[in-house]
Symmetry: C2
Subunit: 200 residues, 2 copies
Amino acid sequence: MTPESFNQLVALLARLPSIGEKTAQRMAFFLLRSPPDYGQALAKAIQNTLQKVQLCPCCFSLTETAEAALCKFCEDGRRDEHLLCIVESVSDQLAIERTREFNGRYHILHGALSPLEGIGPEKLRIRELLTRLNHSATKEVIIATNPNVEGDTTALYLTKLLRPMGFKLTRLAQGLPMGGDLEYADKATLAHAFTARTKL
Amino acid sequence: MTPESFNQLVALLARLPSIGEKTAQRMAFFLLRSPPDYGQALAKAIQNTLQKVQLCPCCFSLTETAEAALCKFCEDGRRDEHLLCIVESVSDQLAIERTREFNGRYHILHGALSPLEGIGPEKLRIRELLTRLNHSATKEVIIATNPNVEGDTTALYLTKLLRPMGFKLTRLAQGLPMGGDLEYADKATLAHAFTARTKL
């Protein structure tokens, strides 16, 4: 019963992650209620991002073509050339950046191995990783894939691949989360925390 | 650390209702990962909606200028002219439509009285409601404002205003929700259900 253009907007908004039909409708009403500048700016920002944002040819993080060929992470001379952190996605990279704990280089795989979904090594940026490692000052490779089945598989695969190349290989520690509660920890995490207990 | 156009998109998305910084970021990544057609279509749909969708001059629901002056609800000759349902918003109207319980006309106030937020009768479509009622076949006015403080205030105000005009005035029933549980009903609802108990 609502106008066609409105229905179309709702349908497109509902395709966004974690947005259902009802939230999409609320968003569309919000756009109509807001000053038109806002909606115009949002539409422009989407077009702008699609047009300008590209993947960095070195680490495959985000970059703007207009700015430079390399992304800000690769361009930054103050970052440690000897450390390379491999992550599954740009959002994982940003999560690590927020900790301010790491000051090395990144490599973004854009996914994880998943035979069930037909994602093999050729669909990830692994060939580019090898080429890159052959011509870099990297000493330690930190595998920061997610602590789940796909991430573990990817980590195992990368370990086998990189071990012969002589790098120091590390992986993010797994165990109980900070501020967590033993009682509420899942079985797998608690079991791992036991096996991998650290000496005091 | 992410490109400027990307940051701008995230900031604008985060202004949508119920969308926080993290969800906005996930949405922006989703847009980048999807085929570019999708993002382009979304941007166009926003612009299209802002440009085409207008308020119906009779009931103030949504309509498309290109289609007709009146909205589909007002144009539909099969709807009962004698019933007029007053709602706060177009989403409330759509919620009522989904029930298929009502086949009369609508009037959308676009808000509810709220002295605290400075929303007086002049900010709602009340003057237009009166003009409309003076020239219509309406016999019963159903006040379907929300069952909260603002909605109740608005209903009271409208009752005082419309009573002298001789319409049959009704309001949506309040009580325990279907499938609800006495134990979990809030105090006010349960108290009202007692006072307004119906005869078997």
